[in-house]
């Protein structure tokens, strides 16, 4: 019984491969359609992961705590200790009044001449704080900043909230747009594949109706097509990944210099193993699913 089952499945697989090789141009078209669709999905993956990276400006999230003029030097150390205990803090740096003036001098550049007329240093001492990823969550950031604002040593807290608010809004918008684009691409892909396989099977409608007439069950007819679809899908996926890799290798050297100019990362990474696996899986699923779908359409058309 089990052996008979296995023999049957092997038979279906064999038929699937045979159909593929008999299918000729139809099979080639099905495979290349799937390849095109999956190429779009690869493109989506790579754009998606790098765009997120481009705007995920981890180290730029900084906050400055300006200290009151009255805070004496020996109270700096314990305050820094206290702040370091906050788990949201990734790094902290004390900037003394003198250091601040130096920096300001540097920032002004040519205009620094105006500082020549100064009698005393008007700039306050401060802590420059770098926040870790968790703090980017806007509400958490607000609450932490509020705690720091009411510290007796702190004059004012600068930066952070508005910028983060803007940025996270942008990232959300970007994510939504990308999901949207990805969704459209997947729908288009599915459509193309279902159409192609539909046409391919439509090409064989006589064959299928003959099989029915000589006593084949529906599943006996369907399974080889299903396997054929899955094999075509996986072939298409493999081809897509290969082509995308070629494409990637060719373009990498051209795009990289431009990138550094605009974004703050300088290298494009290829798809991860997980993404490659997903592409192959999606290929197999849409190949097989397309077969089933078009078989379903078929049965409506020719009953």
């Amino acid at each position: 019984m089990l052996i008979a089952r296995i023999r049957q499945i092997l038979y279906f697989l064999h038929q699937g491969v045979k159909n593929l090789s008999v299918g000729g141009i139809s099979a080639i078209i099905a495979v290349t359609s799937i390849t095109c669709s999956l190429l779009l999905i690869c493109l989506y993956f790579i754009i998606s992961s790098h765009l997120t990276k481009a705007f995920d400006l981890e180290k730029d999230i900084r906050v400055v705590l300006y200290l009151k003029e009255s805070v004496s030097k020996n109270r700096i150390e314990p305050l820094q200790q206290k702040l370091t205990n906050y788990e949201e803090i990734l790094g902290i740096k004390y900037v003394s009044k003198e250091k601040a003036l130096e920096k300001f001098h540097h920032i002004l550049g040519e205009d620094a001449i105006i500082l020549e007329g100064l009698n005393n240093n008007p700039l306050p001492a401060s802590f420059e704080i770098e926040l870790n990823h968790e703090a980017k969550e806007i509400n958490r950031l607000k609450s932490v900043l509020h705690q720091w604002e009411v510290l007796p040593e702190v004059e004012s807290v600068q930066g952070g909230v508005e910028w983060i608010e803007k940025l996270s809004g942008f990232i959300i918008a970007l994510r939504i747009s990308l999901c949207f684009l990805g969704g459209i691409l997947i729908i288009i892909s599915l459509f193309i594949i279902a159409s192609t396989i539909h046409l391919t099977i439509d090409n064989r409608r006589d064959e299928i109706s003959i099989m029915r007439l000589v006593g084949a069950t529906d599943w006996y007819i369907k399974l080889p097509f299903l396997f054929e679809g899955v094999i075509e899908g996986i072939l298409g996926g493999t081809l897509a990944i290969f082509l995308f890799w070629v494409f990637y290798e060719v373009l990498r050297w051209r795009i990289t210099p431009c990138l550094q100019l605009i974004f703050n990362f300088s290298e494009i990474n290829f798809l991860t193993m997980k993404q490659i696996f997903i592409v192959l899986l999606v290929g197999g699923v849409i190949g097989g699913g397309g077969s089933l779908l078009s078989f379903f359409l078929q049965s409506f058309q020719h009953r």
Binding site: N19, D206, M211, L213, G215, T217
Partner: protein, 224 residues
């Protein structure tokens, strides 16, 4: 319920097509188990339509059809294959699968039943031998002559010793000698227990065989 000796019974069967063309009118018919029956009639009389009803390629517009003890109007779509596996059909237009070789076309009927490979090979060789096509086994149908294609259709219909054999004009593309051989083949099968219903225009053949014949004319049974 019905006597076991009848393999096909048709009661007041009508078939009207979409365009209101009445192809079959009040057909009443009883075919005994083991019988060899001819269906004769001019072009367009309804012979093919009658056969199509028997393996549910078409459904009767009204009336009851009982095949091998089952009312075939009541068979569910998903179970029709059980009926078809008991019936061998030689289609008037052959209906050979163009993407399979001659061997695979004939073997398909047995593969569907899940028979072991060795047995399939034995049976297919035997069937092709009987119609004189053993040398053409690995050809694709497109490369065969009209008569050769017809013989593939015949081999497929008889390969599994069906309970009922429906042969629709099976010698239309065959020369007299070949036709005679095929009739001998059908006779053999009939002697081994298969009921045969054969539609033909070849009155000569009908005369020679000395079997019962039904005359169809404009959808009605004329003689019996």
């Amino acid at each position: 319920m019905q006597p076991l000796s009848a393999i096909v019974q048709m009661f007041h069967v009508y078939k009207t097509f979409d365009d209101n063309y009445r192809a079959l009118i009040d057909i009443n018919l009883r075919i005994e188990k083991g019988e060899f029956l001819f269906l004769v009639g001019p072009s367009g009389a309804g012979k093919t339509t009658l056969m199509r009803l028997l393996f549910r390629e078409e459904r009767a517009s009204s009336g009851q059809i009982i095949v091998y003890g089952r009312n075939i109007n009541k068979i569910k779509a998903g179970r029709i294959y059980q009926l078809r596996r008991k019936i061998g059909v030689v289609f008037q237009d052959f209906k050979i699968i163009p993407t399979k070789t001659v061997f695979d076309n004939v073997a398909y009927v047995l593969q569907v039943l899940g028979q072991p490979k060795s047995e399939i090979e034995r049976k297919v060789y035997a069937a092709l031998n009987r119609v004189g096509l053993e040398k053409r086994m690995d050809h694709y149908p497109k490369k065969l002559s009209g008569g050769e294609q017809q013989r593939v259709a015949i081999a497929r219909a008889v390969v599994n010793d069906p309970v009922l054999l429906l042969a629709d004009e099976p010698t239309g593309n065959l020369d007299a000698d070949r036709a005679h051989e095929i009739m001998k083949l059908f006779n053999d099968i009939n002697l081994h227990g298969t009921t045969v219903l054969m539609a033909t225009h070849n009155i000569g053949l009908v005369g020679k065989m000395k079997k019962r014949a039904i005359y169809l004319r404009e959808g009605k049974i004329a003689h019996c």
